[in-house]
């Protein structure tokens, strides 16, 4: 029974995949630079929600490395072993000095120690059942009992095997959990986490097992440990050396401690290598992201199309072939085919040929001409064959600097000699290319039932996803859902590449956009505030999109003076940090061009929201906000914000009173 195309795209979270990623993980093209197991020191791995950080980590760990899909594993393959550990972030918060007083440190040590020992024991167990070729080692390991010191330390039974140690330690963790219910009693046991693990590794090596192996411990969700706990781990990282190294993984922008406990009050510089999943590993530039995304999509479709043509993406030996230009182009072609795009010129042409929009454009031009007391006719400024220019004309005419006669002259010249290299024509062409998106969006703000066509096409999907693979796959998933709902016979999918018509892509984009907005309220403890802020910003940008003149068009980001930000309300600082962590806002530090420039920081609203608010997904022009205005947007109640919003309507001379954003479905009366 054929699996639906959409279901293949449904699984898009790391945890929905098993720990064994041997044949499923898609290696980033430049993987050799980013192999986590080739580090000599602990590293920081940074990645936000939906960037694939966890999958990347798990790829380097023993359930994948020792996968049964791996036919033969030799000594070289086990020289570096990764161990992935995600602490129970809810439970671990209980291990603090307020609740446990001075017992917290020992409790934390014991918790981490036991957890890692469990992992290590499971690793040994996995080694036994894997296709590791050294049967001598396996036989030794099968019978190997723990040392008496360990037996005493962990209160184990006689003859406990290393490979079974995890069962006993699970019981100890359970005891620890129960002890935490009433910690005034004595601790059931206390171990030094780092030392115990080291000791176990050492003991194994003394038996001539895994002598050349280095162990890399990857601790995920580091930002969810308490500050004190982070400092402990930092100490382990700092003093980590072969054969036991510690690395940490956390969300980008999360405020984590980089100090160790002994340096609590010093300003330490981070001297660990930082690997940013997005900026370093798979999206160092936009094109890299597009290629990587195309590969992922192509490989998923391969499953669907029963097509074996695609290069195996989990195979390290194939990385070189994947770096060739023809291959890259081939991948990009696939996604461009599946998600076709209409260029701006074609979109304009469609718009001019649409009666409703044509009428609106003409009306606007008449209005502008009347404002300028010009006797010229609106029809002169519109030409079906020069759609983009016509649309841009309709907004240019509202600008104070525009002289209608001059514009008409230029327009006529342009119509006659479109490829002329004269200054006037070139300038005019630039005007068109700089303003066409704004003009398109401006007109579409009048028609809330329609979806602006600029949100379709693979490139634009990537633009909206902003290098976040989860967003992109969500857009793909929704697109295929739309496609499936229109097709009666699924069989045809299995023969050719599916092509998602523009209209359906737009529906998907709009849906994902709305969904993303709704989801913001669930992101972190300040989710609801973030959603409020995102909505307010979206409305402001949308408002700007409705200005007739569209000067400084395409707004989706704002700026604030850096100095001003330093002294801003702590609450706003917290919200900005949270917005960054959860990808609601992206921050840019703008370098000063001249000494007279004021340093500013710019914040871009996630372009995934662009379809919902009918705003541009590209970062073009910013709106500068003062600190006071920022406060209104971030902190003030609806009444104050509505006043501010009304003032903007007045200042920007936006005429229509009715807001065209679809919102009647929210706030159901029931």
């Amino acid at each position: 029974m054929a699996e639906k195309l959409s279901s293949i795209f449904k699984k898009n979270r790391a945890e929905e995949f098993p720990d064994d990623l041997w044949n499923t993980f898609i290696l980033p093209i430049e993987y050799e630079q980013w192999n986590l197991l080739e580090n000599d020191k602990g590293v920081h791995i940074r990645g936000g929600r939906g960037t694939g950080k966890t999958m990347f980590l798990k790829y380097h760990c023993f359930p994948t490395q020792l996968s049964n899909e791996r036919i033969s594993i030799d000594e070289n393959d086990i020289k570096q072993i990764g161990i992935y550990w995600r602490p129970d972030t809810h439970f671990v918060q209980l291990i603090n000095d307020k609740y446990l007083k001075d017992k917290w440190l020992s409790t934390f040590n014991t918790y981490v120690g036991l957890s890692l020992i469990i992992k290590f024991s499971k690793f040994l167990q996995k080694l036994l059942i894997s296709n590791y070729t050294n049967t001598d080692t396996k036989n030794k390991l099968k019978e190997l009992k723990i040392t008496s010191i360990l037996k005493e330390e962990l209160n184990c039974e006689e003859n406990t095997l290393y490979t079974e140690l995890h069962k006993h330690c699970n019981g100890l963790l359970y005891k620890l959990q129960n002890w935490l219910h009433s910690p005034q009693k004595d601790m059931p046991l206390a171990i030094d986490g780092k030392a115990s693990l080291y000791y176990i590794i050492d003991s194994i090596k003394n038996e001539e097992i895994l002598e050349g192996t280095t162990f890399h411990i990857f601790i995920d969700e580091f930002e969810n440990l308490t500050n004190d706990q982070q400092m402990i781990i930092n100490g382990w990282m700092k003093h980590g050396e072969k054969p036991l190294l510690y690395s940490i993984a956390y969300k980008k922008y999360a405020e984590i401690s980089i100090n160790t406990s002994s340096e609590e009050n010093t300003q330490r510089r981070n001297d660990h290598r930082i690997i940013d999943i997005v900026d370093d590993v798979y999206a160092k530039d936009e094109r890299s992201f597009k290629i990587f995304a195309s590969e992922i999509i192509a490989s998923k479709l391969q499953v669907f199309l029963n097509n074996k043509d695609i290069i195996p993406l989990s195979d390290r030996k194939q990385l070189t072939s994947r770096r060739t230009e023809p291959y890259k182009k081939q991948m990009l072609d696939i996604t461009k085919t599946i998600f076709p795009e209409k260029d701006y010129a074609t979109i304009s042409s469609d718009m001019i040929n649409d009666n409703t929009i044509f009428t609106k454009v003409k009306k606007n031009i008449e209005h502008a001409l009347k404002d300028k007391n010009s006797p010229l006719s609106a029809d002169d400024f519109i030409c079906i064959n020069n759609a983009s220019a016509s649309l841009v004309n309709s907004i240019l005419l509202f600008r104070t600097k525009t002289n209608p006669s001059k514009l008409l002259k230029t327009f006529n010249q342009y119509k006659e000699h479109p490829s002329s290299r004269s200054k006037v024509i070139l300038e005019y062409k630039e005007l068109i290319s700089n303003n066409i998106v704004a003009a398109i969006l401006y007109l579409y703000t009048y028609y809330s039932q329609r979806i602006c066509p600029i949100y379709s096409g693979f490139n634009r999907f990537c633009m909206m996803s902003k290098n976040n693979i989860r967003h992109l796959l969500e857009l793909c998933y929704q697109s295929f859902i739309e496609l499936e709902s229109t097709i009666e016979d699924f069989k045809q999918f299995h023969e050719t590449l599916p092509i998602v018509p523009l209209e359906l892509q737009l529906k998907a984009a709009k849906f994902c956009s709305k969904q993303e907005l709704e989801t913001i309220s669930e992101l972190g403890p300040y989710g609801q505030e973030l959603q409020k802020i995102a909505n307010r910003l979206g409305r402001i940008f949308h408002l700007k999109q409705r200005i007739k003149t569209q000067s400084k068009p395409e707004n989706i980001h704002f700026s604030v003076e850096t100095l001003a930000l330093d002294s801003i309300d702590d609450k706003i600082k917290t919200l900005i940090t949270q917005a960054k962590i959860w990808n609601v806002l992206q921050e840019y530090n703008i370098t000063k061009n001249t000494p007279n420039d004021i340093a500013t920081k710019e914040y871009m609203l996630t372009p995934m929201l662009a379809p919902f608010y009918t705003i541009s997904p590209r970062k073009i022009h910013k709106i500068p906000f003062s600190v006071d205005e920022l406060k209104i947007i971030f902190l003030d109640n609806d009444e104050k914000f509505d006043k501010f919003y009304a003032k903007l309507i007045k200042d920007w001379k936006v005429e229509d009173k009715i807001e065209h954003i679809q919102h009647s479905l929210f706030g159901d009366l029931f």
């Binding site: 809330s448 039932q449 679809q662 009647s664 479905l665 929210f666 706030g667 159901d668 009366l669 029931f670």
Partner: protein, 300 residues
């Protein structure tokens, strides 16, 4: 014709999706095919939007939710009434459950239904009683019927507790009360329909002594489909008269029902639906069926 709101299509799409998921998660006990066929009954934009509004307003009661209501009756409603009337005071709720299961002779009441007084086709009361017996595990000896009332030990039994699914106009209950009136001096009649319409309650209250009406849920005029209170925001500017007229025309064109039935019994126009049956007071558009003409939504 009522005025179609701008974003009607999206609302329609969302309601269809919502209904599909309701079916998938077994909240609604029908099949997706059922839903899709019913939706096909509506072709124009106005008709589709109407169907979306109808979906939005459905109050559905499947078996599991009815059982939850049973718990409400047994754990809260009954003990309180028995205690207020000094008929019986429970020790604690666990213990009450235990008595219901094991020691029915220690309890001064019986369970019954109102449907066996005449040969009325409605068997929903006994259905409810059966479901409750299984869920509550109460002893069969606690059940009695109209015919047995005369033979009950009036020294010991002080109350008759009546289960039912819905009290709409109260007419059926009144018929029952008239038949059992000789027993008013012997028993307190406690009527616990899962849901009752205020009109029905008004119809019966104060007209009989020794009768208590204690529904789990109460609906009133606000719950009529053609009242504003529970319509979604997207419909807030629709003229309800126009909607009603549209509905009348639609029913006239598509069904063979007499006009007087369009708004259901007592013109209550409810959207309340049980998984095994649809009450008389609920709009017939939810249960109507005609071979090759109209696909039904929920069972009658």
């Amino acid at each position: 014709m009522y005025v179609l709101p701008d974003e009607w299509e999206q609302f329609y799409y969302e309601m269809c999706n919502r209904a599909k998921i309701y079916i998938k998660i077994n909240y609604w006990d029908i099949t997706e095919e059922n839903l899709l066929l019913w939706l096909k009954n509506f072709s124009t934009d106005h008709e589709k939007f109407l169907s979306a509004l109808l979906i939005y307003r459905i109050i559905y009661r499947n078996k599991s939710s009815r059982l939850s209501m049973y718990h409400h009756i047994i754990e809260i409603i009954i003990p309180n009434i028995l205690s207020q009337h000094d008929i019986f005071h429970i020790d604690n709720i666990d213990n009450f459950h235990s008595l219901l299961k094991n020691d029915p002779w220690l309890l001064p009441f019986k369970f019954s239904t109102i449907s066996d007084v005449d040969n009325s086709p409605s068997k929903s009361g006994p259905q409810v009683l059966r479901e409750f017996r299984r869920e509550g595990n109460f002893h069969k000896k606690l059940e009695t019927s109209f015919n047995e009332l005369a033979n009950l030990d009036k020294q010991r039994i002080k109350a008759i507790i009546l289960f039912d699914d819905i009290m709409g106009t109260g007419e059926q209950f009144k018929t029952y009360l008239d038949k059992v009136s000789p027993f008013f001096k012997d028993f307190l009649f406690i009527y616990c329909p899962l849901v009752a319409h205020q009109n029905g309650i008004n119809n019966v209250t104060d007209k009989y002594s020794n009768v208590i009406i204690a529904p789990v849920e109460i609906v009133d005029e606000k719950y009529s489909f053609f009242k504003k209170d529970f319509l979604p925001k997207i419909a807030e500017n629709i003229d309800l008269n126009n909607l009603e007229n549209f509905y009348i025309k639609f029913m006239h064109t598509n069904t063979k029902l007499p006009k007087k039935d369009y708004f259901a019994k007592d013109k209550q126009s409810l959207t309340y639906i049980f998984n095994l049956s649809t009450p008389n007071n609920t709009l017939p558009i939810f249960w109507y069926e005609e071979e090759n003409q109209w696909e039904k939504f929920f069972p009658r």
